[in-house]
Symmetry: C2
Subunit: 349 residues, 2 copies
C-alpha cells in the first residue's frame, strides 16, 4: 500500500468512453455498510471514530489491497484544495470535504474503486466506470465488499439487510448512479417531463456532484432510490432499463432539434464556440453550459472539434483544479481568467 501522494491526478475512468457514451458518461456503484458493535459515525465519539477507521483501513489493507496498489488518504491531513479536487473528480461528496475529522479514503488504482471511512456510514464502497456499466460496477463493489466482510463484522439485520445511518440506504445499501448528458432535453424543454417520470419511477435526479448539488452543463445524475426489499440484480436491471429510457428521450429530442429549424441549433452551438474561443473570463457553470452546447454540436455533426470528454474537461476547469494550478485561493477573477485559457487548451481553440 502506497504512502499518501500530495494531489491525486484524475481517475482513468473520468476521461474514458464506455457503453452508452456520449449520453451516459459514467456509472457509479455505492455500497453502504457499518461495523457491528459501534455506533454510526454521526453518533460516535472521537475514540469510536478512530477505532472504526483503524478497523476499516486494516481490513482494506489485508483483504483488498494486498495484491494491488491502493493508497490511503487521511482526510484531516489533506489540504482544503486537495479535498476540493477529490470532490471535483467525483471521488467524495461534500461532507468528506467539509468535515474531514476522522474520515479516510482508500483509493484503488486508477481511482475507479474506493472505500470511504467514517463518512455518513463507517464504510462506503464506491466503484466508478465509464459509460453505462451498472452490473460491472456493482460486481466490483460486491467483490470488495466480500473481501472486507472476511475481516470485519457488518451491522446486519436478517429481516432488513444491512443497517445504515440513513434509512434510505437500509437493505442492500446499494445505490447505482449514471451521469447523463442531456442537452437536447434541456433545449427542447422536455427535461421537466423526463425528471417527473423518473421521480414517479422511484429514481433520484441530481446535479453534477450528486445530492444537494445544482445541475450544470446539462449533466444529470440519475440513481435508484429504493435499496430495501429487492435484490442487487433487480436494482441493476432497473438502472439498465431506466437509463436506456432516458437516453431514448434524449435521442428523440436530438432528432427534434435536427429536424426543426436547423439554424437555431447551429446558431446556439456556434455562439457557444465563439464565447469559448474569445471570453477573457468564464464562470464554472457558464463554462460547463458552453461545453455542453459545443459537445451537442459535435455529436449532431453541426461542427467538428477536437474530441473531448465533458466530464474530464469539467473536472479540469473546476475551481479547485484551477486554483491548484495557479497556487491561489480557488475563487475570484484569477480562476475565471485561467478557466478561459484552460478550456481553450483542452479544446485546441
Amino acid at each position: 500500500m502506497a504512502a499518501r501522494s500530495p494531489v491525486p491526478t484524475a481517475g482513468d475512468w473520468l476521461g474514458s468512453k464506455g457503453p452508452g457514451y456520449p449520453l451516459v458518461l459514467s456509472s457509479r456503484a455505492r455500497l453502504a455498510r457499518n461495523l457491528e458493535g459501534l455506533p454510526f459515525p454521526g453518533a460516535s465519539d472521537e475514540e469510536e471514530l478512530e477505532r472504526a477507521r483503524g478497523m476499516v483501513l486494516e481490513s482494506v489493507s489485508r483483504g483488498v489491497a494486498e495484491e494491488r496498489d491502493w493508497e490511503i488518504l487521511f482526510a484531516e491531513e489533506l489540504r482544503r484544495d486537495e479535498l476540493g479536487i477529490m470532490a471535483e473528480e467525483h471521488l467524495t461528496g461534500p461532507s468528506f470535504c467539509e468535515e474531514p475529522a476522522a474520515k479516510a479514503m482508500a483509493l484503488g488504482p486508477g481511482k475507479a474503486a474506493g472505500v470511504l471511512v467514517n463518512d455518513e456510514d463507517h464504510v462506503r464502497i464506491r466503484v466508478m466506470m465509464p459509460g453505462a456499466q451498472f452490473m460491472k460496477a456493482w460486481s466490483e463493489a460486491d467483490t470488495i465488499d466480500n473481501r472486507l466482510e472476511r475481516e470485519v463484522r457488518y451491522s446486519f439485520d436478517h429481516q432488513l439487510g444491512y443497517l445504515t445511518a440513513c434509512p434510505s440506504n437500509v437493505g442492500t445499501g446499494l445505490r447505482l448512479s449514471a451521469m447523463m448528458h442531456l442537452p437536447a432535453l434541456v433545449v427542447t424543454g422536455d427535461i421537466g417531463k423526463t425528471i417527473a417520470a423518473l421521480g414517479q419511477a422511484g429514481m433520484y435526479v441530481r446535479g453534477l456532484y450528486g445530492e444537494g448539488s445544482g445541475v450544470a452543463g446539462n449533466l444529470f445524475q440519475v440513481s435508484n432510490r429504493r435499496t430495501l426489499g429487492r435484490s442487487e440484480e433487480e436494482i441493476v436491471t432497473e438502472m439498465d432499463t431506466v437509463v436506456a429510457q432516458v437516453a431514448g428521450n434524449e435521442k428523440t429530442a436530438r432528432k427534434v432539434l435536427t429536424r426543426g429549424p436547423g439554424l437555431d441549433l447551429a446558431d446556439r452551438v456556434y455562439r457557444a464556440l465563439g464565447i469559448l474561443e474569445r471570453a477573457r473570463k468564464l464562470g464554472f457553470n457558464e463554462c460547463l453550459e458552453l461545453l455542453s452546447m459545443v459537445r451537442l454540436g459535435v455529436e449532431l455533426e453541426v461542427l467538428t472539434l477536437r474530441d473531448f470528454n465533458l466530464l474530464e474537461v469539467g473536472a479540469a476547469v473546476a475551481p479547485y483544479h484551477l486554483g491548484e494550478a495557479l497556487g491561489v485561493e480557488a475563487a475570484g477573477e484569477d480562476v475565471d481568467r485561467e478557466r478561459a485559457v484552460e478550456v481553450r487548451r483542452w479544446l485546441d481553440l
Copy 2:
C-alpha cells in the same frame, strides 16, 4: 439633373471620418420651410401637394442643381425596399417611407445634401457631414436655402420667422443633430445622467433614426430643441458646446473603464467579437450592440481589427439593405443569417 437611379448607394459622408470621430460620427443640419400661399402639406389636398412639389422641384432644378449633378426621386415611384434603404442611410425619416404620396427628394452628389418635398413641411433642406461640423453643415444648408428663396416665396412672419407645420420648428427652422457613439457611458451606467442633463439644457436625445426611433448600438442622436428667438449662429455654438461636453463625458467614462478591472472590459469586448465571428444569425439591434462593443475595444486598444465605421456598417447590415442584396422580403431568418455573413465580411472576420 440625372434621371432616377434604381437604388442609391450609400452617401460618402456615411463612411467618412470628420472632427470628433469616433465619438461624433456625423452632423446634420435641417431647415424647415413652407411655400407662401399654400396650406402646409398635412392640410393640403392632392392638387395642392402636386403644385407644391412642382414648384419646389423646379426651384431646385433652376436654383441649386444647375451646376451640379442632383437626382430627383419621386417617393411614390420608389419600391418599399428602396424607401427603406434611404431611411436606413439616414436620408429620410419614417414618414417619407410610410406615406410616400406626393413626396419627393432631390439628392445632391454624394448624398450629403438633399431637399425633401411635402414631408411635414413643403421644403426640408438636409445636409449631412462626417464628424462634428455644425457650422459647415448649416452654411451649406443656408446656401441651398438662399438659392431656393430666389425662386420661391417662403411663408415668413417678421416677428416669428419661418412658419412651419409643427410649432417646434418655427423661427429659424434649423435643427442641428449629432450622431454620437457613447458605449462607455452606457456600460458604466452614466448615460442616464448625461441624457437628463441634455434634456435640461434644451436638447433632444433620440435613437439611431431620429424622432421616434429606439437607441441601438449605443448610438444617440443629440439635437437642439429651440429654433425660435435665437440666431442660427447661436444654435451652432450651442451644438458645438453641448456635443463637446457629451464627448467629454464619454471620454471620462472610457477612462473609468480602462482604469477599473481591465478584465471586465476585455471580456465584454472579446465576447462580442466571438459572437460576431461565430453566430449563424444576428438580429439588427444585437448586431449593432456587438459592433459597438467591438469598436469600443478597438478605440481603447483592447483589440486590433480592420478599421470600420459603425454608421456605415450599421447601414450595410440594416434590414432593407440585406433584403435588397438577397432579393427577398426584408425580414425573417434569411436576413438574420445574411447579416451574420455580411458583418464578418465588413470586419474581415
